[in-house]
């Protein structure tokens, strides 16, 4: 029989036949590895997941006209620059002065689905518009004209020709729209009414142009400015700006949050690793007598260290594998519970976790093994 075979036989015997003791140690190592892989996965995923939350603040990029006429296709060219998975929403806006009950009101024509995506903070009492022929009224407008969801509203528009010529014979254009909801934002939007772009074009009789496009892009500050540069360079028809209030603040808060998770991870990791180390110390110290016996029957210090280290590292490896699995489960649960989306798995963490786990267990048992080998076998074997 080869020496190596006996070596493996001893280690497996120790692991298998001292099951309860080894399970205790394994549990502790597995916890350490779980914390390692779980928290680091979360740490790497926080900017992405939290970034999505920050999109609640609405548009962080706007496109405006650069060449005199801003059309929907200009906007589409602009948004095409941004990767589809980073673009949370894009909404075109065209503002016109219209009249409601003979009072001047600003009406915005937009793409309702896009507006909903870019401005998740809009609260609509009633329903969002889902088709043409519908209108959302701002809360202030609704209050001043006593409008309620479900009613029909006549919106009139005086064509520019009529305005300039003050020609009484030219009649205002009118359109009847169904109020689906009242918009509550706490901001200037409450003074406006919102309808689909098509309805506004019908009302004004002019089509094709928009004033501004709002974009909500899930990206960090550097990526955002690179998108802006690329849009400005590749699409001459539009000019892209960042909404500084949103982007600057997001960077500040997000970096703090990530620093928080990082620091917490470091503290938790350090303490768990020390925990693993003390457990391994206890596991080895418990076996001083066995080490003394091995010495007494002629084992050299090196072979004892080799055997115990091999055992610890094997334990570390198993714990590491367990930790990878449990850590992924934990991170996934956190992600689902907190962010309602699944986590992006970091494959690199698999070897790292296992390696770190082996190293920590190995190193933390090395010291007590060394000190145990220095013990006089006669003393260990004689006294209790």
């Amino acid at each position: 029989m080869k020496k190596r075979q006996m070596y493996m036989r001893m280690i497996t015997a120790s692991l298998m036949r001292r099951r309860s003791r080894m399970l205790v140690a394994l549990l502790s190592i597995a916890i350490g590895a779980t914390v390692l892989s779980g928290l680091i996965t979360i740490y790497y995923d926080v900017p992405r997941q939290m970034g999505a939350q920050f999109r609640n603040y609405g548009a962080n990029m706007i496109l405006t006209d650069a060449d005199g006429s801003f059309t929907l296709s200009d906007m589409q060219q602009g948004t095409a620059v941004i990767p589809a998975d980073a673009l949370v929403g894009a909404a075109p806006y065209r503002y016109e002065n219209v009249r409601i009950h003979e009072q001047p009101i600003v009406a915005a024509g937009t793409d309702m689905a896009g507006a909903r995506a870019t401005s998740p903070f809009w609260r609509v009492e009633g329903e969002w518009c889902s088709a043409d022929g519908q209108i959302l009224v701002g809360a202030n407008v609704a209050e001043s004209f006593r409008l309620k969801a479900g009613e029909m509203l006549t919106v009139s528009y005086t064509p520019e020709t009529a305005q300039t010529q003050e020609d009484e014979t030219v009649l205002d254009n009118t359109i009847d729209l169904e109020i689906t909801g009242v918009l509550d934002t706490g901001g200037p939007e409450e003074d406006y009414v919102y309808m689909s772009l098509a309805d506004l074009e019908t009302l004004t009789g002019e089509s094709g142009t928009i004033d501004v496009a709002e974009l909500s892009v899930s990206a960090n500050a550097d990526e955002l400015s690179s998108y802006v540069d690329r849009i400005n360079a590749s699409v001459p028809a539009v000019k892209a700006h960042l909404v500084k209030r949103v982007t600057a603040s997001e960077t500040t808060v997000l970096s703090k949050l990530q620093a928080l998770v990082l620091l917490v991870t470091i503290v938790v990791l350090a303490l768990t690793m020390i925990c693993v180390a003390t457990t391994m110390t206890a596991v080895v110290t418990e076996r001083r007598k066995e080490i003394g016996l091995r010495k007494a029957i002629g084992a050299s210090d090196r072979s004892i260290i080799g055997e115990f280290l091999g055992e610890s590292m094997m334990l570390g490896g198993i714990g590491g594998v367990l930790g990878v699995v449990l850590g992924y489960v934990f991170a996934q649960q956190v992600s689902i519970n907190v962010f309602s989306s699944s986590i992006r798995f970091q494959w690199l963490l698999v070897p790292i976790t296992i390696l770190v786990s082996i190293l920590v267990t190995g190193l933390s048992s090395l010291l007590p093994i060394r000190s145990a080998t220095e013990v006089d076998p006669a003393l260990v074997l004689k006294g209790e």
Binding site: K2, G298, D301
Partner: protein
């Protein structure tokens, strides 16, 4: 040349002289008992002979080599190559089977050989218990595994420290019979004990008192009779 020779050995702990100018010789193939009350220096002597401790003063010659000057590393090597230890507390590795415990000694000595280890267990009458864990063996059986482990590497000396201290009379007899067998095969035996019954079967009994060699009794009746067959019979009875 004697196999083992202690020349004016002292072991001093502070004020206490655990060994006080002890000299003795053990010849190859001899069976010697060391007796004495607690605190007489038995254990110290056993540790020094077993290469687990060094004397404060004096020479310890094993096979003509003075081991009192060696460092811990080479003492381990001497222990591994020349001495087989048997303990009162048996000291088996509790997660290894009987045969694996015997192989452990082979492993540190040279090469583990399961067949040889099984043969050694057969010699102590434990062939059928080879794959049991220590916890599944009786005290006597554990001590026999210990004997098998001690002799597996054909040591120059087998050093037994109170080998029967934890055994009942029946098992004590089995172990003593094993010693007879080993003696007949030419093994040098040094047995440290405080049990006169165990001590007096040896060829020579050295009595220690207060760290000094108090007296030496030579067993005039020592016949070297082979007790082997008796033991076989006894074991059969025991297993019934």
């Amino acid at each position: 040349m004697s196999l083992l020779e202690l020349k004016n050995v002292y072991k001093i702990y502070g004020e206490l002289h655990a060994l006080d100018n002890v000299s003795l010789k053990v010849e190859k193939g001899e069976w010697v008992s060391i007796m004495g009350p607690s605190g007489s220096g038995k254990s110290t002597m056993m540790n020094i002979i077993g290469c687990m401790d060094k004397p404060s003063k004096g020479e310890v010659l094993l096979d003509g080599v003075d081991i009192s000057k060696e460092n811990a590393r080479s003492l381990t090597a001497v222990r591994r190559d020349k001495i087989g230890l048997i303990f009162q507390q048996f000291h088996l590795v509790n997660y290894l089977t009987a045969v694996e415990n015997v192989m452990l000694a082979q492993y540190y000595h040279s090469m583990p050989d399961e067949k040889e280890a099984l043969e050694a267990l057969d010699r102590v009458g434990l062939a059928d218990r080879a794959h049991h864990l220590p916890s599944q063996l009786s005290g006597g059986e554990q001590q026999r595994v210990c004997v098998a482990r001690a002799l597996i590497n054909y040591p120059e000396i087998i050093l037994a420290d109170e080998p029967t201290g934890n055994l009942d009379e029946a098992n004590e007899e089995i172990v003593v019979d094993l010693f007879h067998k080993l003696h007949n095969e030419g093994t040098t035996l040094i047995v440290v004990t405080h049990d006169p019954e165990v001590a007096e079967v040896a060829q020579r009994t050295l009595v220690l008192r207060n760290g000094k060699l108090h007296k030496e009794i030579v067993n005039q009746n020592f016949t070297g009779k082979i007790h082997f067959d008796d033991m076989q019979e006894f074991r059969k009875e025991e297993t019934k």
